[in-house]
């Protein structure tokens, strides 16, 4: 008895710690192995390559935001991306407008992840995918809000300013896009959905500060959007275009690319570069080149 007691007592502290940590790992399971989110003091903006469509994931300490989900054909791509990031809960999900290339991928996201808050423009549309998305939201017992232009929302360290839509009705869904400026420290990203020139002009008319270092170019780089006045007011250093290579619509249109080039803006494109991840410490922006 005496000898046995002595042996336990003699076990080095490091061995005991090893045993405790091993047991903890077993208890926590695969979660322990998941990719951690961004470190404190930084935020990540992921523009996910979903082919022809938009999907962006924003991560900061205690904040996961998804803006759009690509088309129905991108459902697996998106959910796999979110799973690989280890995301189980979204603090905010935004469907900028009800077109399938923006909301198509959101249906499995609603079904599989925990969601705290959903923002969409209050619009009616007749597509099956819109109906399916609304039904999946209803089945989960969630509600949807549409912030007014000028409303501010804080999620973790991210400051969100709702810019658009300014009006309740535009007669077309692109202009109904929820347009958000998301800031981390001194750095801002502007997410424009498919907002067109009418929506851009209305936002400029509000006098709200649209200046941002990164602009998610409206409507996949279509000439319908990114008017000269709007671009001048946003005055970005980087423009991100989300579209499919050789798409049927000619996105991004040459006129828009020329306008961005003339303004000396760096252009990143998902059709040419795949997933684009921009990381900021609140003062500068770096492109993360390896996952």
């Amino acid at each position: 008895m005496k000898r046995k007691k002595k042996r336990v007592k003699d076990l080095p502290a490091s061995v005991l710690i090893f045993i405790i940590v091993s047991l903890l790992c077993l208890y926590i399971g695969p979660d322990f192995l998941e990719k951690p989110g961004p470190v404190a003091g930084s935020a990540e903006f992921h523009f996910i390559d979903v082919g022809q469509g938009d999907a962006a994931l924003i991560r900061a300490e205690g904040a996961n935001i998804l803006i759009d989900g690509g088309d129905i054909s991108a459902q697996n791509t998106l959910i796999e991306y979110l799973n690989a990031e280890g995301i189980k809960k979204l603090d905010l999900m935004v469907g900028t407008h009800p077109h399938s290339d923006h909301i198509g991928g959101l249906v499995p996201v609603v079904r599989q992840l925990e969601i705290d808050q959903i923002i969409m423009p209050r619009a009616d549309h007749t597509s099956a995918v819109y109906q399916e998305l609304l039904t999946s939201i209803q089945e989960k017992g969630l509600k949807i809000t549409s912030p007014a232009s000028g409303e501010a929302i804080q999620i973790g360290p991210l400051e969100i300013l709702a810019l658009g839509p300014v009006r309740d009705n535009y007669g077309d869904l692109n202009n109904m896009s929820v347009i958000l400026k998301i800031s981390f420290g001194d750095i801002s990203f502007l997410f424009t959905g498919d907002g067109e020139k009418d929506a851009e002009a209305d936002i400029l008319g509000t006098g709200l500060n649209v200046n941002a270092q990164v602009l998610k170019v409206g409507h996949h780089g279509s000439v319908s959007s990114t008017s000269y006045d709007f671009l001048e007011a946003v005055n970005p250093d980087i423009a991100v275009i989300s579209c499919k290579l050789d798409n049927e619509y000619g996105h991004p249109h040459q006129e828009v690319l020329d306008r961005l080039k003339a303004a000396g803006i760096t252009v990143y494109r998902t059709d040419l570069m795949g997933d684009i991840i921009l990381v900021t410490d609140g003062k500068s922006i770096e492109r993360k080149t390896t996952q």
Binding site: D71, I72, S73, H99, S100, D101, R122, A123, D124, H125, T126, S127, A128, V129, Y130, Q131, E132, L134, T135, I137, Q138, L142, K143, I144, T145, S146, D172, L173, N174, S222, E248, Y249, G250
Partner: protein
């Protein structure tokens, strides 16, 4: 018989969703009725594609009900 909802217009195309199969169908704009708008429901009738006003109204009302219930 196909029933299509017009999801959106992009350049020369009307992008529609088949309401039965959920498939996304791209149609040349000039093959669609000139008065067709985003959200209209299209059907084939007597060899041509037409806007089904009654079906469009019915679907709009259905979705409007969901919208009214879900928005805060």
């Amino acid at each position: 018989m196909k029933t299509l909802a017009i999801d959106r217009f992009e350049g020369e195309y009307g992008i529609c969703q088949d309401l039965d199969t959920k498939e996304i169908v791209r149609c040349k704009k000039n093959s669609l009725p000139p008065e067709a708008e985003e959200g209209d429901v299209l059907v084939y009738r007597d060899g041509s594609i037409i806007v089904d006003r009654e079906l469009t109204q019915k679907r709009r009302a259905q979705i409007q009900k969901l919208v009214d219930e879900l928005w805060e």
